[in-house]
Symmetry: C2
Subunit: 594 residues, 2 copies
């Protein structure tokens, strides 16, 4: 049976020693999270994730969700009890707003808790995850009445929430969507249409589900400029907050997917269902992107989570499984063979996973920190920089970390050999679950295009220049530190490649947009590697500060970082060469020539 033990030690290292969040303790949100409270929360969350959610992970995969004849959906055995416990213990309220009962803690702490939950059970984590997305949209665009009516129950996860974007003929290109909204005399709308791939779309975990639905008001313009967002409750909510009649929408089927079987991915049919406009008419996409941006960080995190879970299991297997002898002579001479971990190529696969997971965790937490600073910092420049980083690097987090997560899970499975291909080991599930994160919330190719097509040129390129300036400042501040030097060299490699790639894109991508599109995937990978190089430099600096500690954690952190420099970062040059080859190798062939 697979295991998962939350890496609380590594999380504390990031929060307290790398990001040093205590420096922000005078700011809102951060002031609610003194280190002893933060540590206690991490410890409690770890118990819940490991003790309650992880044992249900394979149950969810094996049983999946069942759609019943009446359109209701039964989640896998144990999910309802675990969810009740999750709500009762107040986990959804951790980072939520005080006015809705929340604890108002900073995202950088919330993401650590979310990581544990999603590593333990990705399908389970998606129920509150989607609910939070819907909450963000109502917070951003709802009227005071709408907020009052829905947010108390949704924030606590007593009610669920969903995002209804996709229709069978359109996912990425939402301008094509056909769902209709017909205005009613009372100010509400009748919503009609079919939405597919709706995560957490129907289930038995909550009394109500508040669907956020994109539809086109009768007579609205075609394309993306005629799309509005609606609140469509599964069960109507009376003015006193009590539940009324069932709305006219139903789950018509649940999908048979490669993974995340424990989450109900539904086709939802709206048949003149009652909905309420949220935000301005025809400007629904803007509001939907509020949800999407938060969701993209969460999706990037899912890549980390599956890689971490796969790593832990493959590490345990590599230490325990005896097979073959070390190339340099037996290391377990009294046993019938040496453990797998003596073999260099097994270590390569383990360290690729480990260096990825630790780098990705640092990157995600650093981003989450900026997400909160953007809201609460009392310094204009800090808020601006934080907003710039969130805009620029969200697509990188989403695509680079989900792709790395899939590779990491695949490496973990590989270490198990044939046993990894058998479902009982759980390694296949990590790969199958990780796979979706590269696809949903904007496929990774869409993220890459967002990066080169929008984020790079935003505010005259300010976000990228700001990021490069931070790298330069770090290098300048630490120049001459002999022990940090290899990490500064790695950062310099990243920075130089980034500079050359950006210059090439500026010179060639504006005259021919296909040059930008052709290089987008590799540019995103290159930025991802540079971000990781920066994270490893920051982690190395924090670890070197404890060079005289007895705790081997610090020395091992430095070794993992050195592995990244020697065995991961060298990929960057290949990405640069591919970018500079331009559009011609991709665009010349006619469609019939393929």
């Amino acid at each position: 049976m697979p295991v998962y033990s939350p890496p609380v030690r590594d999380m504390k290292f990031l929060l307290n020693e790398v990001l040093e969040i205590s420096q922000y303790s005078a700011l809102p949100r951060f002031e609610e999270a003194p280190q002893d409270l933060a540590d206690a929360i991490l410890e409690e969350a770890a118990k819940f994730a490991e003790g309650v959610l992880q044992p249900l992970n394979m149950v969810g995969d094996t049983h999946g969700c069942t759609r019943n004849a009446d359109g209701s959906v039964t989640t896998p055995p144990g999910f309802k009890q675990a969810f009740d416990q999750f709500v009762e213990n107040g986990w959804p309220l951790l980072t939520a707003e005080t006015e809705y009962g929340g604890q108002n803690l900073p995202s950088v702490l919330g993401i650590a808790v979310s990581e544990m939950i999603s590593s333990a059970n990705m399908s389970f984590a998606m129920y509150p995850g989607l609910t939070r997305g819907a909450v963000e949209a109502i917070l951003a665009g709802g009227t005071p009445e709408q907020k009052e009516k829905y947010l108390h129950k949704m924030t606590s996860c007593e009610w669920g929430g969903t995002m209804n974007l996709t229709e069978s003929h359109c996912g990425t290109d939402l301008g094509l969507l056909k769902s209709k909204a017909v205005p009613q005399a009372d100010g509400s709308y009748k919503i009609t249409g079919e939405k597919i791939f709706i995560s957490s779309g129907e289930h038995d975990l909550t009394d109500n589900i508040i669907h956020m639905v994109l539809a086109r008001i009768e007579g609205a313009p075609e394309g993306t400029k005629g799309i509005s967002l609606f609140i469509v409750p599964k069960v109507m909510v009376n003015d006193d907050g009590s539940l009324g009649e069932r709305n006219s929408m139903i789950c018509s089927s649940i999908e048979h997917k490669m993974g995340i079987h424990g989450n109900s991915t539904c086709t939802l049919n709206f048949d003149e269902a009652t909905g309420y406009l949220i935000g301005e008419a025809n400007k629904g996409l803007r509001l939907m992107f509020v949800m999407m941006n938060a969701a993209r960080l969460g999706t990037g995190m899912q890549g980390l989570c599956q890689a971490e879970a796969a790593y832990q299991n493959s590490l345990a297997y590599a230490k325990e499984r005896l097979q073959g002898r070390s190339l340099t002579g037996p290391k377990n001479p009294d046993g019938p063979a040496d453990p797998l971990i003596v073999h260099p190529d097994v270590r390569r696969m383990l360290l690729e996973q480990k260096a990825f997971a630790e780098g990705a965790r640092a990157f995600l937490y650093w981003m989450a920190l900026h997400g909160t600073l953007e809201d609460v910092s009392d310094d204009d420049a800090t808020r601006e920089k934080a907003g710039d980083y969130m805009a620029l690097l969200t697509p990188v987090v989403k695509a680079y970390i989900t792709e790395g997560g899939y590779k990491g899970a695949t490496n973990g499975q590989q270490i198990f050999g044939g046993h990894g291909y058998i479902e009982e080991s759980g390694m296949s599930q990590f790969v199958r679950d990780a796979r979706i994160a590269m696809i949903y919330e904007g496929a990774n190719g869409v993220q890459a295009l967002d990066l080169v097509g929008r984020k790079l040129a935003m505010h005259g390129g300010r976000p990228l220049f700001s990021f490069i300036a931070e790298l330069d400042a770090f290098m300048a501040d630490n120049q001459g530190d002999a022990e940090l030097e290899p990490f500064l060299d790695g950062l310099k490699t990243g920075r130089e490649n980034l500079n050359e790639a950006t210059t090439w894109l500026m010179e060639n991508g504006l005259s021919n947009f296909d040059n930008a599109g052709a290089g987008s995937h590799d540019f995103l990978q290159l930025v991802g590697l540079t971000c990781f190089a920066y994270m490893w430099a920051k982690m190395a600096k924090a670890a070197l500060a404890k060079a005289d500690s007895d705790d081997p954690f610090y020395a091992n952190k430095l070794l993992t970082g050195r592995f990244f420099l020697a065995r991961v970062l060298p990929e960057i040059g290949g990405h640069l060469a591919k970018i500079k080859s331009g559009a011609e190798p991709l665009m010349t062939m006619s469609a019939d020539g393929f």
Copy 2:
């Protein structure tokens, strides 16, 4: 529903224009395959693969195999009828020996037919595939009586065959195996033990299954030097060839796997089953490697097959699915959106698949040609070189092509977006099926170690020097050909990286074997890229020879090759850098430090 249309045009191009097999028509085997016959065979095989086997591929995935209470196994609906047709039409006999009813055709033709069958239905193809492995072992080590008794029925696939190596505690390290063989007065043995992960281990497709089983004769030495190979029929065969009693072995369970559900992967329990020693006692591993080597080429081919099938489906989807607009202005202005294929990053994913599949096909067919030349050439030097290439490059074919196949299938799935994650599209199956090929028949890490640890130094390095000499000769012979120049430059890049990597390994791998192990994966990738660069140079040369043809096939072949040079080959430098970083970044951390 997924589709598959065998790429017969590309196969003919390789056989007739790149490898020019007509030049060998005076040699045994080749003399049986004039071009008109070869073409007719390809056309017929294509019909069978597309018309009969492909429609059963998803059926196999959905239904899987069922173990019945009596230990018998029922294959998916339709498999038995298709298998009967496969046998009746004589497909297994194509490359088989004349004395057992075979047509004695060269492997380079057989591999094209095998590719079609495995692309259409990988799980189905494994039943005859494993049988052929068992045939090879009996051909190599059986007595005349054993050959007479088993090979007629096995060659035609009227009986099945299996390879029984793995036990629960050992796969790679067969020296640990525990199955026992006790000699009997009549010269037979009683075999007792449990074997796991036995592909095609029990099924309803044939009247009998001949298991090739590794076991240790009572009193034999421990480790790999005490392992013998046994023929263990499922049903005993009487001297007159008729079937006798059921042998004392049973399928105790079938595995729940990530993919290849249509193939029955069994745990087989042998309980004093009657077996017959084949080859010398205690030298069973040597014979088993006869099977394994042939199987490794076939496993490499499986990588190509799943990538090809995924490519075809993702290409059709990219042409048909309307989503978004081209970055350079609408290409389908009258439609609601442009087809996916206008987007550069979609083309990147398509061309990565296409350049991989065509390069892999060339590499595999070129290897298959050498496999036959090793046997039938009348020239000593040609036979030696062919044998050297088979030894050196079999691990490269197995690991590089299976890894590329998994990546290719993943790319194909990605193009489908959310629809690719839903099982109905069939894209998930390609990924899940492709995944096993990186694991079985020697995990890819074992292939890499075989390459650097054994094959590189074999015969004083002759195989690699011989290969490099061929590359040099090709470059010298074609020097000054302006149109071929980019391909010659690509080949030079490969050759230089290969040279530098080999020199580094020679200087550092012998003094510390861990340096060789640490670089093994990247060295194999580097050799794979160099082989592909050579194949693309050869294909470009053949295509350029038809530069004035009206058939756009040739121009598109050159464009695909140029994509390889611009967008795949640049990865080679990263692999070299990783190799040269040596063992230290991998081996320093203690096992507890992970």
